[in-house]
């Protein structure tokens, strides 16, 4: 726990492994939100839910 984490050096970008994991997780979550079916209730005559 007290040891320093792994850092990536990609050109001018220096980023820690935990931050890479958080950003990757956010991208995955965003992609899931785009394609995952959303539970729909009954629609009214005007197309509103």
């Amino acid at each position: 726990m007290d040891s320093p984490t792994t850092y990536f050096h990609w050109g001018f970008i220096v980023i820690s492994l935990p931050n890479v994991l958080v950003i990757a997780g956010m991208i995955v979550l965003f992609a899931i939100a785009l394609v995952a079916p959303f539970p729909r209730g009954g629609e009214g005559h005007d197309g509103r839910r």
Binding site: V22, M26, L29, F30, I32, A33, L34, A36, F38, R40, E43, G44, G47, R48, R49
Partner: protein, 214 residues
């Protein structure tokens, strides 16, 4: 003449309360302010990110109030205190994660269209003020971590020319900003943001064939 009807005043007196009420009725009718149905295109998980951000902010404020009441010794030395300390920290992480996901969603659907530029701009300001609030929070931890951050950040603040009135080594100033002025600022801006979203409704999707649906 119908006796049941009250007499109608021909000349309304000039009144600021009347003008405010008429402005609210015109710009934010109750059907918009508290809608019970949404357009069909709102049925997507992308629209949930903003709501989760607000939910996280509620937990941030609630846990922050408890921490402010109990103090640093409590949040460092007791089990319940460390729990609330962690609750505050992790709800802030969720607040930022879902705020950025909400930002991505609004960016790709061009959420500033059709008179919503001010709503987008207020969101940008919320993002900035939130970063400042989180920064002062890291400086208010009362541990070696906060001392390390303060000592290293002071040079950046001085180089930026703000060190004279924003002194990161001054715990009282950072703590006061963190638990009073900045949270009030974030909360007011978030309420303003939500009211503007309600006033204009959720932005319509971009037409896949080009142009904007009206």
């Amino acid at each position: 003449m119908d006796a049941a009807k009250p007499p109608v005043a021909v000349d309304e007196p000039d009144s600021w309360t009347l003008r405010v009420r008429q402005a609210i009725e015109k710009n934010l009718p109750m059907d918009n302010f508290l809608p019970h149905r949404q357009p069909f295109y709102v049925g997507s998980w992308v629209y949930v990110f903003g709501v989760i951000t607000i939910a996280a902010l509620v937990w941030v404020v609630v846990s922050g109030v408890v921490l402010a009441f109990m103090g640093p010794q409590w949040w460092h030395d007791s089990g319940v205190g460390r729990f609330f300390n962690s609750l505050h920290f992790w709800s802030v992480q969720l607040f930022f994660i879902f705020m950025v996901l909400h930002l991505w969603g609004q960016y790709f659907m061009a959420g500033w269209r059709n008179g919503r530029a001010a709503t987008w701009a207020i969101g940008v300001v919320i993002f900035g003020v939130s970063i400042l609030t989180a920064f002062t929070g890291y400086l208010s931890q009362q541990n070696f971590d906060s001392q390390f951050i303060a000592v290293n950040a002071k040079d950046a603040m001085n180089a930026g020319g703000v060190g004279a009135f924003f002194n990161v080594l001054n715990f009282g100033q950072m703590y006061g900003l963190h638990i009073m002025l900045l949270p009030i600022g974030v909360t007011i801006l978030v309420v303003w943001h939500i009211v503007m979203v309600r006033a204009r409704g959720v932005v319509k999707p971009i037409d896949p064939e080009g142009g904007i649906r009206s």
